[in-house]
Amino acid sequence: MISLAEIFHCGYIHDGYNPGMTDKQALLSEAAFHILVALAEGDRHGYAILQEVAERTRGRMRLGPGTLYRSIQRMLEQGLIEEPRERPAAELDDERRRYYRITALGRAAARAEAGRLAALVRMARLSGLAPKQT
């Protein structure tokens, strides 16, 4: 299993504000971040991930199947997500589909990325480039 540090090429993962981290490039690709967010609430199959992402972003982020599965393939290799052995409850299960589940590493990565983004927004607010929190 690859460690989170290896994925992000940075030695220190922090939930909160970490000034050093804002210098780094995005920890996850936008697609990977969206996929992790979509999986945070429960296992989903590919098409459900696409729908979830589209819904959350009000249609602004429309992933194509190529981008989706290329990301999934990489994220599986990196251990950010996995394919659960057990299937969902029978009434929810679509037998033709393969389901994906976020791993602990995936959660940590998504949290770290969210923290990085939050830090950026905070900085932007301080300089008046982003609206104050209401």
Binding site: H45, G46, Y47, L50, G64, P65, G66, T67, L68, Y69, R70, I72, Q73, R74, R96, R97, R98
Partner: protein
Amino acid sequence: MRFYSLLLHLYPSSFRAEYGGEMRAIFEERWSLATGALERLGLLLSAAADALPNALRVHAEFLGQDARYTLRVLARSPGFAAIAIAVTALGIGAATATFSILDHVLLRPLPFRDPGRLVKIWNTPLRGPGRIECSPASWRDWRERSKSFERMGAYHPLAANLVGRGDPARVSGWAVEPEFFTTLGVRPALGRLLLASDDAAGAPGAAVLSDSLWRSRFGADPAVVGAKILLDDEPFTVVGVMPREFDFPNRETEIWTATRLRKENFEDRTDAWLQGVARVKRGVTLEHARAEIQAIHAQLSREHPREDGKVGVTVNRLRDEIPRQSRTMVLALFGASLALLLIACANLANLLLARALARRKELAVRTAMGADRRRLVRQLVTESLILSGAGGALGVALAAAAVPLAASLVPLALPASGLPRVDLPILLFALALTGVTGVAFGVVPALRACSDAESRGLREGGRGGASRGTERLRAVLVIAEVTASVSLLIGSGLLLRALWRLQAVDTGFRSEGVLTMRTNLPLPRYAKTQARVQLYRRILSDVRSLQGVTDAAYATGLPMDMRGGIWGVAPAGAPEDYDSRPASMRFVTPGFFDAMGIPLRAGRDFAETDSADRPLVVVVSESLASRLWPGESALGRRIMAARKEREIVGVVTDVRVRGHEQSSEPQVYVGYQQVEDEAIIGYVPKDLVVRTTAARPAALLPGIRAAIAKADPTLPVSGVRLLSEIVDADTTPRQVQLRLLGGFAALAFLLAGLGIHGLLAFVVSQRGREIGVRMALGAQAGSILRMVLRRGGVLAAAGALLGAAIAYAGGRAIESLLAGVSPADGPTFLAAAGLAFVMTLLGSLVPALRAARLDPAQVIRTE
């Protein structure tokens, strides 16, 4: 839906197998939700826009992963990597080097505008093959009467003493008609080309410089145009400089001047010294042009039966002007390098097979962990591509270093410019070769390894029992290696025998201890015979008095250096339609035969008393004497030679004027004093021959230069060579070819031996258990030894037989290079068979001994 399935094929197959179904399902859902043609069109477009970049990135990611994995794996076994890369580098390097020569000599379009329409027009002998220069009158008539040609330009060689900047120097070039340049369609780099006004009889001299002369003598001065120079004491103006890549008609050309033919040049139709290049009109075929010239020539033959009627005429494509031998030589070398490449590839495949087998456990574990088979194959092929890529890069470097060494294989008269180089087209060829090598010879081992891993990998773990299929495949590869190496051995053996045979040919003269050089005699200062006689006498008497010099003489050209100069010779008083004998005619000073070591058979040498006012005399070679007067003495007979009736006073042995391989015309030697002023001026003796007893003939050079400078300080000395070098140069292309081919054969031999060794070592290690059981059951070490040796022997015998058959066929194809050695030459085949036997024995011995020394108890226990 078919559209989306097609798009899915952009992805790597293992990715498609994993996710293709789901992706198609998503597309189907979206498709079913889409309403209206516009929305569906949008969906198709977005699907394509989604698939293209993502497929590329998946490929790149896989490639990156595989490459990183490969580098890690190879770093763990550097020995394997080094051998695989070296073997591939040798194969690809040899093929690339020979291809660059082949491409240069045979394939690449000539560096002229629309080169396919360029032809040369030659006279031909009525009997037998060959080409003869034409007379100015014939050329003029061809031009005036033909309609097939857009332009025609004639030219003839020229050598002159150049006085301009720096010391006087000897330059060689061509006097050309102005249409020579426009026919070829070239432009000058500086200044202008020659114009019709430059070519009028009596026009002031105009010269165009070659790039190399411009750089070496004029310091690449851009203001050279307009400079005044002297060529053989005659004033010329430099009007232009040609670009670097232009060196027509040959690589040694330094200067072009106009022909400025005079009226009298057109009088004697047998005085033939022009070559001609022409551009066929668009839409006119070569055959049509040739037929037209032949029809015109038939007309001319009726008008001038005694001149034009004595020769034929032909039109050849400029590209086909390469001597047939050069063509065969280059093709043979390329074929040999392909054989070497095949061996290298077979070796690479064998190495990969052996290695894949050793890694069976690793592959089996990866398969068991769910790695897709296609993904594994892809990874293994990436590995072989990385190996072949590294080998290819190294091979190209080897080729770039080796190509200049083979430059003598490029015929001097090749109308292409310069020498072969490893340039872009050659690099592309090497790249293609590398790719094919990596894929073709990587895929099969990869497929085998993966199917082995799937079918039995984990079950059998790392234990023996290799797939028999793999073993068979490797045996076939070894047979192919032996076949190719034996055929290369035989091929180089045949060429070696041919070279020996040629080098043993009696040249008719003794070349050891003879120094030669050329002193050009500028006209008109030396147009008078008596002026030359004075000069020769002064130089020769001073040279002869030097310590260690036994003889010295002047002559028109040296054998194997000047090959032409052929005149008709007939007995005096022969009827006018007598078919005169062709003979090579030379003017010589007394002492020439002694200096050259040409034995006198009858009569006497020339003497200083054979002066212009004495009876005209000649010396002829034995073959001429016996052809004209078979069984009788030729002494005292009179012949027509050099336009006069002369008496034969001596008979000498024949000399190989045309070199070791071609038959030569008989020789006629004329005394240097017995020629009229300004007559036959092209045959003025310029070559000085000095025979010496000195251990280092070159040590005499300062003394000889001083003697020449004392006689005339303006005479440049050029072309200093030992006579033995001239003789040696005659077989140089052969020697170079043989060295290359011999090198290929030696490498092939080594690789095939390694191949046998590798296979048997593999068999012994895989069958250790079987051997152990046999020994436990009472088999003697000797019989195990024999069993392994037999296996090597069978493979080698099969390969040697096939190789001999291929070599025989190859020998037939290069028969023109074999100088009479039979393509089924017994000693060569026997020697190759002997070498193959030694190779097999050496390759098999170590594995066989290892097998015989196995301890059965231990083998069975560890199993």
